[in-house]
Symmetry: C2
Subunit: 230 residues, 2 copies
DNA sequence: CCAAAAGTGTTCATCGTACACCCATGT
DNA sequence: ACATGGGTGTACGATGAACACTTTTGG
């Protein structure tokens, strides 16, 4: 133990970009909070936290999301390590950013309220502290890439969803419309979806059939990677 | 200054995956070294170093490559932050891995020798210490993705190169053959290459024309991203 | 003259894209 | 009956993939 005696030690933090899909508003949203501590108290920022000696960086990232949302086992991916000297005026901190996809109806409202967090549409993002805007920009870019190559869209929807809902999500991610015939054809042709008998009747008179995943195929796809081509 | 007083500080390191293309052997290679210090002295590893208080993580990554190769301004990209608690038995270290692409004839032989480093084909990689094998695996995966979407292959070749050389590089990266007619057509159709009058005559009697980039278009492509589709 | 690598075109299948009408039903 | 969103099929162009012969020239 303890080689490397004379090297510098640094604070290592996590910052968490948490995506949710607001189906009613057809908007992709981020869970942002007003900092209630110094420095930069009162300004908008991402949820963050420090990596402790006795936890891995991944564990710290999970903990941070859990502390804000009460959720575990959410889709999470490391985004990038931000390491400029002056990125945080409060000290020399290296921050590893992660992004998460959560089902927007699942989170713990109390916790979120306690932290002073709110869901903000990505089209109306406020100025964020430090380099957090850069993190968000990178996260959105990466999310768009992922959504083309892995079926992660489903992480943002409830168990049962309709094709129009799924299309709405993709349109929110890319902020551009898709042709509904082409969209439906492509999705169904992958064999990932299982049609249910039940219909969703809130958003139209005719009603749209609910679908659910084929989890087996989903796993295969996750391993192999593939191309949505949307 | 100095908020965050009671948080843990950690060692933060860089590990550097350095790619070079050995045109003669048609092989993509990595610059690896036998550690001449504890722990794990004598075993194969990546080049590494600690991030110092007064330098950014990116700067540290550049420094590490410079210390081993004497090169500056090389293509470099952050790969991933590795943060398991026990990843280095010598202590709790978070390592940010970077990969670099260098022109294999440019580096400083003295420095490389001094560090006990050698070029190893990616098809014959030895067992590496700690999680370095995982880093390399991720780097190769990312390099393959990049080579499809950005013209980074050129970073691995000398200023003047022939189409067969370029094709050899891509074949080394993907470890699979390409059709030379399709390859040539696609590359030329992008308008990135400028044909020179000179021929390379070492590897064939007929000789192959040298090409060079159109650096202007190259910059455009770098910004926009695009698709090689190889 | 021959070996060895460079260079060159065409065909076919696949996939993405564009596009307009009918269906079911709640009010 | 009508307004509203759900659901369906076809035609065209672009792109990737497969494939074989001619050219040059040093030895």
């Amino acid at each position: 133990m303890s080689f490397y005696k004379n090297e510098d030690k640094l604070l290592v933090a996590i910052d968490s970009i948490i995506f949710g899909f607001d189906e009613g508003q057809h908007e992709l949203k981020l869970l942002l909070l007003k900092r209630n501590f110094e420095p930069a108290k009162g300004e908008w920022s991402l949820m963050g936290g420090f990596v402790k000696k006795e936890e891995s960086v991944d564990e710290a990232a999970k903990r941070v999301v859990f502390e804000l949302t009460g959720l575990q086992n959410v889709y999470m991916e490391q985004l990038y390590a931000f390491g400029n000297i002056d990125r945080d005026p409060g000290g020399r901190i290296v921050s590893v950013a992660y992004f998460s996809l959560i089902k927007i109806n699942d989170y713990d409202r109390e916790l979120v309220k306690k932290h002073g967090a709110s869901w903000i549409p990505i089209s109306e993002l406020p100025v964020l502290i430090f380099d957090h805007s850069e993190m968000v920009k990178k996260a959105i870019r990466k999310l768009r890439i992922r959504a083309r190559t892995q079926p992660i869209g489903f992480e943002l929807l409830p168990e049962k969803f309709t094709i129009p809902q799924l299309q709405g999500l993709y349109e929110a991610i890319y902020q551009s419309p898709f042709d509904k015939r082409n969209f439906r054809r492509k999705l169904l042709s992958m064999g990932l979806l299982k049609k249910l008998d039940e219909k969703e009747k809130e958003s139209s008179k005719k009603g749209a059939f609910y679908y659910r995943f084929n989890k087996k195929k989903y796993k295969e796809f996750l391993e192999k990677g593939f191309n949505f081509g949307l």
